[in-house]
């Protein structure tokens, strides 16, 4: 069961402001999702290792060499909705 408090808590963690209707809709959606996932409970998973990765890869790393990825910082800053003095401008958070 997902309570309204659970929804409010998740919204706080995600920095989201939800309207009454949105919260009610989300409560239902989340409940359906959890219900769906709960099907897994029918399986006996004793002795099964937790799945951390699905790729089967190990030790993927790169050498310590500078790479600009062909992009100037200006190009990245230009993606931000607002910028000022070479910085990304955001609403006051604290």
């Amino acid at each position: 069961m997902i309570s309204r408090d659970d929804v409010a808590y998740l919204a706080t963690l995600s920095n989201l402001q939800l309207g009454e209707q949105e919260a009610a809709d989300l409560q239902q959606d989340l409940e359906h999702i959890i219900e769906y996932i709960h099907q897994l409970d029918e399986l006996d998973t004793s002795g099964v290792e937790p799945t951390y990765q699905v790729s089967g890869l190990e030790n993927v790393s790169r050498d310590d060499l500078i790479d600009t990825y062909g992009l100037a910082p200006e190009a990245l800053l230009a993606l931000a909705p607002l910028a000022q003095d070479n910085q990304v401008k955001v609403p006051k958070v604290l």
Partner: protein, 483 residues
């Protein structure tokens, strides 16, 4: 009023978490330049640091190698398999919405820091673990908006978590200092405290002496000097004792250190504790290290501070002298090279010159063990009476700055002490025949030996300070006897 008697009723318990910035060329998961010093905001950023959709972070091998080296300095085990996890929080200093860290299977497990104490004893502070993680960016707050600089976002860190094995502010400071030495000696960090290369979070609680359980702790975050670690711990000890004495309780919370006011201030309460929803990061495959790899990476770790303490025991240096030499690896290596090449007497000379010139912790040092022969030669010149102690100090300072030998510097400055009997004898004759000396000569003949000081002074003056004063006074005595 908190008196020593009140404090003595409580036992303080301290554990420290320390973030150490690794000195790689690039960031932990992107190829962006890791050196943000003196750069414009957002000058060293990549699409990965910017958290753009579809970007794939890839682990920097060098950061792994440095973490393995740090593990040796901490006498830790290195995990044969370690993993990376996502720590979620929404704040503009990390655009991805999570920090990549290691919660469940960190790379460095256990360990101990053997902390030398003022009284010569050693305090073992156990290490719980240390994990790799990326740093966040920097926010600057204005009246109704904030600006985000992501230069530091993605910088590789290891966070070293100690067990709560410290029981005073002095011990906390001593631990922080020794940890700094270990990390800089092992070569894993530049150790620039001013740039925040090592940042300490101090967890501290107090409880009555007979209590079985620890008290509620407060965490003082982001201390970036040894002194602030000590002062913040001491302040917090008193603050918590004061609360308990008044019958109030300590609340579990994060506090900051206000250096100007010399006190800790509440930042956020753990009552609304963070829920980071950790989960394994599917982008970063597990890291597997073989015994051979670990041994190879650790084989290049240079000698650590304790090696030098043991090697120098017979020199019987003052603790403050030894500490100032140990503050920098290059100096410790140089002193050790002098000791091996020239023995105790020369080492003591050089050690004391360094100790008295190293008071300024920020001064740049460019000399190293290859310079040992120049410092040995300087010591030999003093022993052979070729230099006064003042002149030696003067030349020492020049040795720090350039590559000239002490003899070349002494000749250039014309401060070689004249120990040539003939040359000094000529000056002594001059001085004795000067009518101004007559009174002193008469005094000496009457047995007023102190009068010789004036004559020696005259010899030094006429030789522009280069005469060996011992030899001058001996010649004066001989000549007066013959008069």
């Amino acid at each position: 009023m908190i008196t020593p008697e009140i404090l003595a009723k409580y036992k303080v318990t301290i554990g420290i978490e320390c973030h150490v910035q690794l000195n790689t060329k690039t960031k932990l998961f992107s190829g962006a330049d890791n050196d943000a010093r003196n750069k414009e905001p957002n000058a060293v950023i990549s699409p990965i640091d910017f958290g753009l959709p579809g970007m794939l972070p890839v682990l920097n091998k060098e950061a792994v190698i440095l973490a393995v080296r740090a593990g040796k300095a901490l006498e830790s085990d290195i995990a044969s398999v370690s993993r990376f996890d996502r720590k979620h929080y929404f704040y503009p200093d990390l655009p991805k919405g999570y920090q990549i860290s290691q919660l469940y299977e960190p790379i460095i497990i256990g360990g101990v820091v053997r902390v030398p104490q003022e009284d010569g004893s050693v305090l073992d502070v156990r290490i719980h673990h240390a994990h790799m993680e990326e740093d966040a960016g920097k926010l600057t707050h204005y009246s109704d908006y904030s600006l985000v600089d992501l230069n530091r976002a993605g910088t590789p860190l290891i966070e070293i978590v100690s067990e709560p094995d410290m029981h005073s502010a002095v011990e906390a400071k001593a631990y922080a200092t020794e940890l700094y030495r270990l990390m800089t000696y092992a070569g894993v960090t530049n150790g620039d405290l001013y740039q925040g290369n090592m940042r300490f979070d101090v967890n501290i609680s107090i409880a009555p002496l007979d209590a079985m359980e620890l008290g509620t702790r407060a965490e003082i975050k982001n201390l970036n000097s040894f002194r602030s670690v000590e002062r913040a711990a001491e302040y917090e000890y008193r603050r918590q004792a004061d609360l308990l004495e008044k019958g109030e309780r300590v609340i579990q919370e994060t506090r900051g250190w206000d250096d100007a006011a010399q006190k800790t201030v509440s930042q956020r309460s753990k009552e609304d504790a963070q829920d980071y929803r950790y989960m394994p990061d599917p982008d970063i495959p597990p890291l597997r290290l073989t015994e051979d790899e670990i041994a190879l990476y650790q084989s290049v770790v240079p000698r650590l501070p304790q090696y030098y303490r043991d090697a120098w025991r017979d020199l019987q240096l003052d603790r403050s002298v030894a500490d100032s030499l140990l503050a920098r690896r290059a100096i410790a290596e140089l002193i050790e090279a002098v000791r091996v090449q020239a023995g105790s007497a020369a080492t003591k000379h050089v050690a004391h010159w360094f100790a008295s010139s190293l008071s300024d912790e920020t001064s740049e040092i460019t000399v190293g063990q290859d310079d040992a022969p120049r410092f040995i030669e300087l010591s030999n010149m003093v022993t052979a009476n070729e230099l006064s102690s003042t002149a030696a100090k003067d030349i020492f300072n020049e040795l720090l700055l350039g590559h000239d030998s002490p003899r070349i510097i002494a000749e250039r400055k014309n401060i070689l002490q004249v120990s040539d009997t003939g040359a000094i004898a000529a000056i002594v004759d001059e001085v004795l025949s000067d009518p101004a000396s007559a009174q002193s000569v008469a005094d000496i003949k009457e047995g007023k030996d102190k009068a010789i000081g004036f004559l020696v002074g005259q010899v030094m003056k006429r030789s522009a300070g280069t005469a060996n004063p011992g030899l001058a006074s001996q010649l004066i005595r001989e000549k007066i006897k013959d008069l």
